[in-house]
């Protein structure tokens, strides 16, 4: 048994782990990262990136189908599913190689295998029955999460899919049931609907995209229904009867049960943290509601052991993991001027058509806080650029504290809003008030002008609506 020693060992090379490793190496720490499957983690291989590739294919198809609206004649529009999937996989492969290169460039040592704690300051890496032990003063757990499995709704990889199978379909399902209407469920619903499947989304809560602002949720639902997606809210999939060619779901809604038979089911009902195989037994690392408990510097209760990303509390987003990685490592390295992450300043994005992006509190949550609000809205239909793009559907909503001018939340639906939300993220990080946003010159003609107008609207000063 060999032993190698490091300043920091990171378990998991997803957007939390590999960023932690690179930052640690930048700060002069001798760093290793342990990855059991693929560099870049779920995000890069089976999540954020490949789904964006798929959704771009869907968008191209939609644009082609509507080419005539723009005066462009396209004779016959069709798609090749295998090519769509191939492109998506190729992009993941490309980026995976990129992460490998980055780690190498930063002299991070990569160990392939499953890592687990093996006593104080030790990580055991097992692969193919062989185990090596790494010693480290600091161990960062970044093992991520997997799809949550609900009894009766277990994916079988054939007709009942998790995100993974949904990303590499061999044939187009004619009909599809998506269980769960979070970002993952909605993105798949949007993708498959655009490619022509009959899609039904079932959500247990009262509305789809339940973490979003209710007004945005409602607009999203309206838009999806217009595209032909069936949406059932306050509904539960009680059971799945798996046939040879299809699946019949028993759906209970408002006390009534109905049957729906579809070719495929995608289960997207949340995530479960990968806490089980990390050797946490016998350590002081605490788990609550399935996730590792950490303080603001990502320290667990076990000295020298840290946890970041999906292993810890929500939101479970790649950029949250990456940001935690940097905070955690900089704190370990004794950097000055390190600041805890404020979840109110983490934007969230859904890349469906239309896109949805938000930051901070929803209007209802802001109101629940008892604060007096100023709420601004600006519709895409009043924005020149949106009309020119043929994307006149959507809304940008901003919520301010009437007393202090604090930007409490911003919520957007429409074309490219996922690229716009960072503007409000900067505003929140800098703690600007409405005054600085109003005084900012937004370029014309852009979609970003709506961000300006929404702020103006909150204070009764909107110009173009």
């Amino acid at each position: 048994m060999t032993e190698k020693s490091f300043d920091i060992v990171v378990i998991g090379a997803g957007p939390g782990g590999y960023v932690a490793a690179i930052r640690a190496a930048q700060l002069g720490l001798k760093t290793a990262v342990v990855e059991r499957e693929h560099l870049g983690g779920i995000c890069l291989n089976w999540g954020c990136i490949p789904t964006k590739a798929l959704l771009k294919s869907a968008e191209v198809l939609r644009q082609a189908q509507h080419a005539a609206d723009y005066g462009i004649e396209v004779a016959q529009v069709s798609f090749n599913l295998a090519q769509v999937v191939k492109r998506s996989r190729a992009i993941s492969a490309q980026l995976q190689a990129g992460v490998k290169h980055l780690l190498k460039k930063n002299k991070v040592e990569v160990f392939t295998g499953s890592g687990k704690l093996a006593g104080a300051g030790k990580v055991a890496v097992s692969q193919d029955g062989k185990t090596i032990t790494l010693t480290a003063r600091h161990i960062i757990l970044a093992a991520g999460a997997r799809a949550r499995i609900m009894p009766g709704l277990e994916p079988d990889g054939q007709r009942v899919w998790s995100y993974k199978e949904a990303m590499v379909p061999e044939a187009m399902p004619k009909s599809l049931l998506v269980v769960g209407s979070g970002a993952i469920g909605i993105e798949f619903a949007s993708f498959y609907r655009t490619l022509g499947a009959e899609v039904t989304v079932v959500e247990v809560l009262e509305r789809i995209l339940p973490v979003e602002d209710a007004e945005i949720s409602a607009l999203a639902r309206k838009s999806f229904e217009k595209q032909g997606i069936k949406v059932l809210t306050a509904a539960t999939v009680k059971s799945l009867k798996r046939g040879t060619e299809n699946v019949t779901a028993a759906i209970e809604s408002a006390g009534k049960e109905s049957q729906l038979t579809v070719d495929r089911v995608i289960v997207a009902v949340g995530i479960s943290a990968n806490t089980e195989k990390l050797g946490l037994e016998g350590t002081k690392v605490r788990i609550e509601r399935g996730h590792v408990v950490v303080n603001q510097w990502l320290e667990t209760d076990e000295p020298g052991v840290y946890a970041i990303g999906d292993l810890t509390a929500p939101p479970w987003l790649a950029h949250k993991a990456s940001h935690e990685a940097v905070i955690c490592v900089e704190k370990i390295a004794g950097q000055a001027d390190v600041h805890p992450l404020d979840i109110m300043k983490i934007p969230g994005c859904t890349y469906s058509h239309p896109q949805i992006a938000s930051i901070g509190l929803s209007e209802e949550k802001a109101r629940a806080g008892g604060r007096e609000l100023k709420v601004g809205r600006f519709p895409f239909q009043a924005n020149g650029k949106a009309i020119a793009l043929g994307e006149a559907e959507g809304l940008i909503k901003t919520i301010f504290d009437a007393k202090t001018g604090e930007l409490i939340g911003a919520h957007m639906i429409g074309a490219e809003v996922t690229e716009l939300i960072q503007g409000y993220a900067i505003a929140k990080t800098l703690e600007t008030t409405e005054a600085e946003l109003m005084n900012t010159v937004f370029p014309h003609p852009t979609l970003s002008e709506m961000m300006h107008e929404s702020v103006l609207d909150a204070y009764g000063r909107v110009i173009h609506f």
Binding site: D337, H339, K403, T404, G405, E406, L430, E431, T432, T433, A435, E436, N439
Partner: protein, 421 residues
């Protein structure tokens, strides 16, 4: 654009001051050259003069505000014809911005002796012009500033937790509102030991005296030389001058100033300052005179005292003393100087040792003029004596030089006619 009026730096060593009172009200029209406000600096009260015409649209720092950081926004002037609405656009015009103060390390007091200007180059204008260069900016988010303004929290009193110590919302929200905390603390203290003491808040002048003299006593290697001067001749001469037609009433101290100045001219090594790089020897003889005022000690300067007639010195000292006690000295009237005289004779003090007034290298402590029994030509006699003690900076003035200086001074003071030449 509204014109921002900021706390001026009246003296080079000034980092904060008090805004004594506004001479114009909000909404009042202001002509260029008008007096806007009185600023109490570390040593005096100076008047703030408007540089441009307009309307005093908003007073951000009210009367009797202490510890106003140099560069802090104190008022906003609207140019003639400028609509009041443009005020609202000026986010810096919120009261929060005014609370700027002691936090920024960039404004740490340039109080080292070497940082003060040479007496030959008094630079600060008596009435600072407006607006002056901003400095002492507090890093705070716009939201933090606004909440601080609403709650009356002084940003300067907070430690920022944001990047580079930037004050963010949480810091303001965590801060106790306004003066609530100190008041509560004081109340608590008084309930424990009622009337055990009274706390008199330190004026900026008090703090400046404390700082300068602590620095001086701690960093300057002082040594002391004491000499007795027979001043019968001087007293006689004073009486004769008084009895002259158009006679003048000169004080002993007027003679002391003149004698000290002439001795400095003779021994220019004493008229000097220590700096790390070099000893700075002054080319003019400027003698500062310690004046006690109700608010504290100040040392106005008689410039080129070696060239001035006694009557001139006398008139000047009288005028400086009056204005010093009224707090109306202009900065250049008390900044600089190569030597200081401190006279406590009027209190009957026989002798004492004074603390050097930086960046100078020596101070002469003058005791009371009194009749003493002395031995003269082998017999006991009565003489009018005055004991003087020189405190000198050994880095600049070695013992022999100090002694030589004091001997020269004694010779002049004991032969007072030489002071009339």
């Amino acid at each position: 654009m509204p014109i921002e009026i900021r706390m001026p730096a009246v003296s080079p060593s000034m980092t904060e001051g008090s805004l004594a009172r506004w001479l114009k009200k909000e909404g009042e029209t202001v002509k260029a050259g008008d007096l806007l406000a009185e600023i109490e600096t570390d040593k005096a009260i100076v008047e703030l003069v408007a540089e441009s015409a307009g309307t005093l649209a908003r007073i951000v720092v009210p009367d009797e505000s202490n510890n106003v950081q140099v560069g802090a926004l104190i008022a906003v002037l609207l140019a003639p014809g400028e609509p009041a609405a443009s005020l609202a656009q000026s986010s810096t015009a919120t009261p929060a911005a005014a609370a700027a103060a002691a936090h920024a390390p960039a404004t740490a007091a340039p109080s080292a002796p070497s940082a003060s200007p040479a007496p030959s180059a008094p630079s600060a204008p008596s009435a600072p012009s407006v607006p002056s260069a901003p400095s002492g900016r507090i890093l705070a988010s716009p939201l933090a500033r606004r909440i601080a303004a609403e709650r009356g929290v002084q940003l300067a009193s907070l430690r920022g937790s944001g990047p580079n110590g930037r004050i963010v919302r949480l810091d303001v929200e965590a801060a106790p509102a306004a003066e609530a905390a100190p008041a509560a603390a004081a109340a608590a203290a008084s309930s424990i030991s009622a009337a055990a003491y009274e706390e008199i808040p330190n004026s900026s002048m008090r703090r400046m005296i404390a700082k300068r003299l602590s620095d001086a006593k701690q960093s300057i290697p002082h040594y002391y030389l004491t000499i007795d001067c027979v001043i019968d001749a001087l007293q006689k001469l004073r009486q004769e001058i008084k009895d002259c037609p158009d006679g003048a009433k000169l004080s002993v101290n007027d003679f002391v100033i003149k004698a000290a100045a002439l001795a400095l001219q003779k021994l220019p090594g004493v008229n000097a300052s220590w700096t790390e790089a070099a000893i700075r020897r002054y080319s003019s003889v400027d003698v500062a005179v310690a004046v006690a005022t109700p608010t504290g000690l100040i040392t106005p300067i008689v410039r080129n005292a070696e060239r001035k007639k006694l009557t001139q010195i006398s008139a000047e000292v009288k005028d400086l003393g009056l204005r010093a006690r009224a707090g109306k000295l202009a900065a250049e009237e008390y900044q600089g100087g190569g030597f200081t005289i401190s006279n406590l004779g009027m209190y009957g003090i026989r002798e004492f040792a004074a603390i050097i007034n930086p960046p100078q290298s020596a101070i002469l402590a003058v005791g009371a003029a009194e009749q003493r029994a002395v031995v003269k030509d082998g017999a006991l006699a009565i003489a009018t004596m005055m004991t003087c003690t020189l405190s000198a900076d050994h880095r600049v003035v070695d013992g022999a030089l100090g002694a030589e200086y004091l001997a020269a001074f004694k010779k002049l003071i004991e032969h007072p006619l030489s002071l009339l030449l």
